[in-house]
Symmetry: C2
């Protein structure tokens, strides 16, 4: 008898080598499986909605797994408390939910929502871990909005992911792509059915090139039709990026 | 010829042994004087509005100093840029202003404003550096508000500062003391003409005792009339506390 669980997770990605477990690296998957091993005496396989890269944060990551035992014998509140106690301070399981046995956090996700945060003025020590400090020439807001508008819809996003990719299909549907300003922060909210690796960060790096006048908006539009990675801009640093939510 | 400067400063206090310079400890005053020494070839004496303790943050700290040279010869924008480049990432000089020669960031301050932030639900890895995680029984909001209301006005606050004090006078005037809720955070905003050392943290620690039912509100009121330190509650951890602003 096994039971499917959903874990809602938050983490500060700064001191992790990303989500995916690797030998000899501190990863979110690794510390989470270690904690689950203590609670369930098995080191369960995990399915995750967003495989975040090194340095990327999450406030709304979702993980699924199956654990031994019948649902009626599991006290999800105690499981959560045990995991919180076992996990390091930069990862927290905020919710544990019993799910139908075939729930899959990755395959069942309808969309993922990320925010990319940038500071447009002075450096801010209190926000430095979660917010990119943008140095350099001022950014043309109209151009940022124009790029964001172009990004919405279904496109071939292969220009926005490393060439040495494990992806096979590059078509993704961008459901929302909006820059907003909040005092001295400029925040890109993106929601897509799924994201290619580093896709949000290359989108941000390329939009910033446009907004600084180093690239035409027309050339940005052309990238969305399956251009090679070399045609797009740089990959923005990971610390500005946070996985906010997963929709099912 | 010397010129008075005002520096507006932000810092993440987590990795500092507080504001005040000490031999063999990393302090905000120490790293700031080191950077000023590079820019001005003098290690100027600093006057500071709020001498924050180890682990306490500031988004609106104010410092004054005098530097060699006439005001007309000083490029405050370049001074700021130089200081930002020289300072570690957890301190930033956000503004440099030329002031009348007798400006004193400490003596001229009319009031100081602090926020104390607490999480009332789950731990949050992304906010752990700036927000106290409150474990334990639920807090009675009405009691928190009652304590805050009692705190407003002029009182003898000696119960809220360590006994081995350098303070001589213990009367302070609390201008504002209000708890507000913002999603899963409970935030105390305090503004007073000046604060005794650790005063906000002992106020918070004592209010939490009341709100958990471990202390009567009547006994809290009695503390405000010059009771000894031993009569008040514990000192809340420093990481929840941030100096927000100084008024002149």
């Amino acid at each position: 008898m096994v039971t499917a669980l959903r874990l809602d997770i938050e983490y500060d990605g700064a001191d992790f080598a990303g989500w995916a477990e690797q030998p000899a690296a501190r990863t979110i998957e690794g510390v989470l499986r270690d904690a689950l091993d203590v609670v369930f005496q098995v080191r369960p396989e995990l399915r995750v909605a967003g495989r975040t890269d090194a340095g990327v944060h999450a406030s709304g990551q979702v993980v699924s797994l199956t654990v031994p035992g019948a649902a009626g014998d599991l006290d999800t509140r105690r499981i959560r408390q045990s995991l919180v106690g076992l996990l390091p301070k930069d990862v927290c399981v905020r919710r544990v939910t019993v799910m139908p046995h075939d729930f899959d956090a990755r395959a069942d996700a309808v969309s993922r929502v990320y925010d990319y945060r940038m500071l447009t003025g002075m450096p801010s020590p209190l926000r430095r871990r979660r917010t990119l400090l943008h140095w350099g020439p001022p950014l043309d807001r109209d151009i940022l909005h124009a790029c964001a508008d172009l990004t919405v819809g279904q496109h071939d996003f292969r220009a926005f992911t490393p060439t040495d990719t494990q992806h096979v299909f590059f078509a993704r549907t961008m459901l929302e792509c909006v820059w907003r300003e909040d005092e001295d922060e400029l925040i890109l909210r993106v929601e897509a059915d799924a994201f290619l690796r580093q896709m949000v960060r290359v989108l941000v790096g390329t939009m910033l090139e446009c907004a600084r006048g180093r690239r035409e908006v027309g050339s940005f539009a052309a990238l969305l039709a399956g251009a090679p990675r070399s045609a797009a801009g740089p990959t923005a640093p990971p610390n500005g990026l946070t996985l906010i939510a997963v929709r099912y």
